[in-house]
């Protein structure tokens, strides 16, 4: 987690000093100086103009990049960061037959799976130069081989996770401006784009990502707030590793491996193989009970999962062995794992229902608790809208059953506890039929583990509006004469709100593609010239600018900086600027 402490040492420093801090061998120097005076007048070869005006839309994640042209329905290239791309040019050993069996020497001395990540969210000790190099190579490969573009400068739209630390954003911008000469880069928020690509203006976006799961409330195209937990893909992989290791050992010992070196033993499995198993074989159990609303619809208050296809054994009780051939351990081995066991990594990684809520730190809250807390902290009207627009995105959302499990768990909590942050009315009624761990979890809530907002204070002591999240919650909904007017309009349809509902999105990349094509102003747009002159230091915090402009964090007019180039201080990094 890129906590404030991690960033505290970095604000208001030049990129070069960030780099120097990260890696002393890197020669520090003013990043503002362009590599070479490359003029923007690149010769245009006659005729060979591929969509000259279509900006390139890039969605950045820790594990994957999505690239394509604005206006396309799908990215042209999805890059999975892999160690193969981090070898020297001309090193063709990847193609040798025994390459994969020699994974131990490649994995040695690095954090587990580090070669599969573009970056860590904790920027401390991270060589940002390496991040830039990795990114550059992947972008070059994707742009030239898959998008078939030439080197002419192109506008770029970046679709970014809300929690991206500034140094990483800065590295990304450096790479695009210096190495690809983009004239302008627009920044869009990935949860907002997820909502946009679902056809809605508000949503609660649950991004089941790699380093962390983020829950972001989007209201009228604004990121209201983000909450996060480490219960995400990486943790799931750890659990998968343990599951497989135990299977290889024949369930002899339950010891867990803590050290990276311990993962290089003969019986150890490679990250690549764990991930292969995780993406192919894992599934997720249903909630211990179905939420009432659902069951009442079906007419039957089923207690445990005796559902749909009656004859079939419920998956949780299916212990039939699933044969999986593992090649990365020495010697290769075919293990047989009971089908029911393949649901365990998800339990441990995302839910951990065996432990009481009070035993979790804020950054490791189980996903369903995090979602519930997020909703709880939202103002009443925002919550009502967002809860009916729950969107799942991120790599882990493809695990069978995971989305419905989270949805059901949240539904159950809402049923049991209502929306009272201290103690729900509903909780009184349900007390009797509650399970023990639920009881204790409610206890924890009562004991004042008041939900903590992870997103840093947006205004930083400017005295202005540190919007409390719950203030409007008790404001009664008043009848609005404007609304009556609206009703008369033909186009009007009442907004769906007030109950939990999951909706489907085409994904943040598609949202970015659509938004860019429709020329919707981005959260922030940065001009190359200004970046080269000023670097990340030149960016004002959005709050400063916005207060001057009388509006906050608006996705809106004037793109926050373009057209204001005369006042070079008035440009921002959008919401990412608040990460300082």
């Amino acid at each position: 987690m890129a906590s404030n402490t991690g960033l505290a040492s970095l604000p208001h420093r030049t990129v070069s000093s960030i780099r120097a801090g990260a890696h002393s061998a890197t020669t520090p120097g003013p990043p503002q100086t362009p590599a070479r005076p490359i003029s923007s007048t690149f010769g245009s070869p006659s005729g060979s103009s591929r969509v000259d005006d279509d900006p390139i839309v890039i969605e950045l994640g820790s594990r994957k990049l999505r690239l394509g042209f604005a206006g396309d329905a799908a990215p042209k290239r999805i890059v999975a960061i892999s160690p193969e791309q981090q070898r020297r040019t001309g090193d063709f050993r990847v193609w040798e037959p025994d390459f994969s069996s020699q994974w131990r020497s490649r994995a040695s001395g690095k954090p587990w799976g580090a070669d599969h990540e573009l970056w860590q969210l904790d920027v401390r000790g991270q060589d940002l130069g390496v991040v830039e190099d990795k990114l550059e190579r992947e972008l070059r490969d994707a742009l030239f081989k898959y998008l078939l573009v030439d080197s002419r400068p192109r506008k770029v739209t970046l679709v970014l996770p809300p929690t991206l630390p500034i140094p990483l954003l800065s590295s990304t911008l450096n790479t695009l401006f210096h190495r690809f000469q983009s004239p302008t880069i627009s920044l869009l928020s990935s949860p907002v784009m997820a909502a946009f690509a679902a056809g809605t203006r508000s949503a609660l976006v649950i991004d089941l990502g790699w380093h962390e799961t983020t829950v972001t409330a989007v209201y009228e195209y604004h990121e209201v707030q983000s909450w996060r937990t480490v219960r995400a893909g990486k943790l799931l992989m750890e659990e998968t590793y343990e599951l497989l290791l135990q299977a290889v050992r024949g369930y002899a010992t339950m010891e867990r491996t803590e050290q990276t070196e311990d993962r290089l033993l003969d019986e150890s499995l490679s990250f690549e193989e764990c991930e292969e198993v995780a993406t192919r074989m894992l599934w997720c159990k249903k909630a211990a009970r179905q939420p009432h609303r659902k069951t009442s619809e079906e007419g039957l208050a089923t207690v445990h999962e005796h559902e749909e296809e009656g004859e079939e054994i419920p998956p949780t009780e299916d212990h039939s062995p699933m044969a999986i051939t593992l090649n990365s351990c020495k010697p290769p081995k075919t293990v047989e794992i009971p089908f029911s066991q393949l649901a365990e990594p998800c339990e441990a990684a995302f839910f951990e229902t065996r432990l009481s809520l009070s035993s979790f730190d804020d950054h490791e809250l189980p996903v369903h608790h995090l979602v519930y807390r997020a909703l709880l902290q939202l103002p009443l009207d925002v919550r009502a809208i967002c809860m009916s627009r729950i969107i799942f995105t991120g790599g882990c959302s493809h695990i069978f059953g995971l989305r419905s499990r989270i949805f059901d768990e949240v539904s159950i909590q809402v049923e049991d506890q209502g929306w009272d942050p201290v103690r729900g009315k509903g909780s009184e009624q349900c007390k009797t039929n509650l399970k023990l761990h639920r009881d204790s979890s409610r206890q924890a809530t009562k004991n004042g583990s008041v939900p903590v907002v992870i997103q840093p204070d947006m205004t930083n002591g400017n005295g202005e509006a540190t919007e409390p999240q719950v203030k409007a919650a008790d404001a009664p909904q008043e009848v609005d004469h404007v609304e009556n007017l609206i009703r008369k309009e033909q186009n009007y349809k009442p907004q769906v709100q007030g109950f939990l509902r999951a909706i489907d999105t085409l994904g943040p990349w598609c949202g970015g593609s659509l938004a860019t094509q429709m020329k919707i102003p981005a959260l922030a747009t940065i001009d190359r010239e200004i970046w080269l002159q000023q670097g990340v230091n030149g960016a004002s915090r959005p709050s400063e600018v916005d207060i001057k402009m009388g509006q906050r964090q608006s996705m809106g007019p004037s793109g926050l900086m373009r057209g204001q180039a005369a006042q070079p201080n008035n440009w921002t990094l959008g919401v990412w600027g608040t990460m300082f």
């Binding site: 070069s16 020669t27 520090p28 120097g29 990043p31 100086t33 590599a35 010769g43 070869p45 005729g47 060979s48 591929r50 969509v51 396309d72 329905a73 042209k76 981090q86 070898r87 040019t89 001309g90 020497s105 490649r106 040695s108 060589d127 130069g129 390496v130 830039e132 550059e136 030239f144 030439d150 690509a197 679902a198 056809g199 203006r201 209201y219 009228e220 604004h222 990276t260 292969e276 192919r280 599934w283 079939e312 999986i324 089908f339 103002p379 925002v382 493809h398 069978f400 059953g401 419905s404 509006a465 919007e467 409007a472 404007v482 609206i486 349809k493 489907d504 659509l514 919707i520 608006s554």
Partner: protein
């Protein structure tokens, strides 16, 4: 492990130029003054094993050279232009304009196939430009051929003159004999394969969803099922909302729903700007609503994945899509083997390359796809000396270097230039990294004579001159493993000796007596990939005088108004000498 081929990697001087202030076009590289390479000062030392070095090291053959700027150019520091885009399977040339409509894969292959039919009149003319990635054979997309399902080779090998037999057609893989009828894919005609595939996959003609800019009711009636169709529906929905919201700004412009003026949606998006508390929609915005029906691109999530879990149980490991298969699919999201689809070939491009500084073309291929030659290709091989490495006395047995035992290697520098070159070498006394081997270059400064190959007529003259010069230098006596002396000299090459004392590869904590307070924790992790390779970082500086070129950009280096101009080029390289034995 036993076989090891010595190698040389060159670090392009453009590396990390973002953090080095270099402004003038052909200013000498940042390291004109030799860095002090003592053991104590490793600030500037180049570590070829550092993670970043991976991205800036290239074999000599991968480098180009701008002969105007006199600088090495690597793939990262050239600008590229498209010359020809083609299908690598059948060499069909694709117009760059059709890329916009077809994307990076050949999709409408109707024309394409017909062309193939007439161009090559033998068996494989019905190449469908579709590679098949099936459940069992994944590693490489084997080219597959379109053939009639019953084994009827005569028909297939018939001339193009023979009328095309009626269908059905299937895709077959000549490598594994898989054919697409296994996944129920058959074609009525051997043309328009991609279109037919789409139809088979989605059951209807998808093109009608893709039509953009049209919000007529007939289109919105159909429920989009593919992402592409949903995308179009969403786009059309947003378009209609914008029009409704502001009829004035509506369709005044052409295309793009009149959104050429960024004002329209800007306003909509910003209507709710400001405080989220007590937020009330304003009248103007209210007409813009959210999508709420499938034909507007809206879709509820189907959270019930019970069927998928059942399939996972039933089909097991082999029924799921491998990571490699998933990566090669065009569309994201296949999880079971039966969701895999044949994939069209990825198009490729021929490119010309320019020096980004002086904008001269330094590499230009023949534009015809079938012609693999180059019109212009300034490879670095022709401009900077190559370095070859061999052991002075080939080590017996394994060929591995023995730890702590001195070994001598011959480095031969060959000069491709038509001018004499002065070479200055510098290496750190010990190699960087966990295992510090000692390195001594016996003769770090020497001159290599010009490459005479250009002019046979002058050959004899030069030869005489060469001998004369050698005599003058007094290094005619060859084969001396002595400091300051070269080992051997040829017409345009020089061999020198490097002595190495390989480090032991034992991983153990340093003796306690040497550990100071505040020292970083010793790295005791197991041997990493190639950490046993003795790799010498070597800084090479070349100085020579050559004909002044008149079209030179900013020839600042010329001191005298002589015809000769002094030139200088310096770079790091990594020289892989051999593997150290792990005994």
């Amino acid at each position: 492990m036993a076989s090891f081929t010595p190698y040389t990697y060159i670090q392009c001087p453009c590396h990390d130029s973002t953090s080095q202030s270099r402004t003038a076009d052909d200013a000498p590289p940042p390291t004109t003054t030799l860095p002090e390479l003592s053991e104590n000062d490793d600030d500037h030392a180049f570590d070829p094993r550092a993670h970043r070095s991976t991205f800036s090291l290239y074999p000599l053959e991968h480098l180009l050279y701008c002969d105007v700027c006199h600088q090495i150019r690597c793939p990262r520091c050239v600008t590229e232009e498209l010359v020809t885009i083609y299908c690598p399977n059948c060499l069909f040339e694709v117009g760059t304009s059709s890329l916009k409509t077809e994307g990076n894969r050949l999709t409408s292959d109707y024309l394409h196939l017909n062309k193939s039919l007439t161009a090559a009149n033998r068996t494989l003319t019905l190449d469908a430009h579709v590679a098949v990635s099936n459940a069992r054979y994944v590693s490489a997309p084997w080219p597959s051929k379109l053939s009639k399902p019953p084994p009827d080779p005569t028909l297939l090998s018939a001339d193009s003159a023979t009328p095309i037999p009626p269908g059905p057609w299937v895709l077959t893989c000549s490598y594994c004999h898989w054919n697409s009828s296994e996944i129920g894919v058959k074609f009525d005609k051997p043309q328009g394969i991609f279109g037919q595939l789409q139809k088979l996959r989605y059951g209807e003609d998808q093109s009608k969803h893709v039509v953009s800019g049209d919000t007529s009711p007939t289109k919105t009636d159909s429920v989009p099922e593919t992402n592409k169709a949903r995308f179009a529906a969403l786009k059309s929905f947003y378009g209609s909302q914008t029009v409704g919201a502001n009829p004035g700004a509506g369709l005044s412009g052409l295309g793009d729903y009149g959104l050429n003026s960024p004002g329209a949606l800007t306003r909509i998006m910003s209507i709710y700007s400001g405080n989220i508390n007590g937020l009330k929609p304003k009248t103007k915005s209210s007409v813009m609503r959210e999508a709420d029906s499938p034909n507007e691109g809206f879709q509820l999530s189907d959270l019930d994945e019970g069927a998928a879990i059942s399939q996972l149980r039933r089909d097991g490991w082999d029924g799921t899509v491998t990571g490699d298969q998933a990566k090669t699919q065009v569309e994201e999201g296949a999880q079971f083997a039966d969701q895999l689809w044949p994939i069209p070939y990825l198009l490729r491009a021929k490119r010309s390359k320019r020096c980004p500084v002086c904008r001269h073309i330094i590499s230009k291929p023949e534009s015809k796809v079938s012609n693999t030659r180059w019109r212009i290709r300034l490879i670095a091989n022709n401009s900077i000396p190559s370095i070859s490495i061999k052991p002075l006395n080939p080590p017996p047995g394994s060929g591995l270097l023995k730890p702590l035992q001195p070994a001598h290697f011959l480095l031969t520098f060959k000069n491709p230039l038509f001018d004499d070159v002065k070479v200055t070498l510098a290496t750190p006394a010990t190699t960087p990294g966990r295992f510090a081997s000692r390195v001594t270059v016996l003769c770090p400064e020497f001159q290599i004579d010009a490459n005479p190959d250009n002019d046979m007529y002058l050959d004899d003259v030069l030869k005489d001159g060469e001998k004369e010069r050698q005599r003058r230098r007094g290094d005619e006596g060859i084969h001396q493993a002595e400091a300051g002396k070269i080992w051997e000299r040829g017409r345009n090459w020089v061999s020198i000796i490097v002595e190495v004392i390989p480090s032991s590869l034992r991983i153990e904590p340093p003796p306690a007596i040497l550990v100071k307070d505040g020292d970083p924790e010793p790295d005791l992790s197991p041997l990493r990939e190639d950490e046993d390779v003795l790799e010498i970082p070597m800084f090479v500086r070349l100085e020579w005088e050559s004909e002044a070129s008149h079209d030179q950009v900013g020839a600042a280096t010329s001191r005298e108004k002589d015809a000769k101009e002094k030139r200088e080029l310096a770079y790091w390289c990594a020289i892989g000498i051999g593997r150290i034995s792990q005994e």
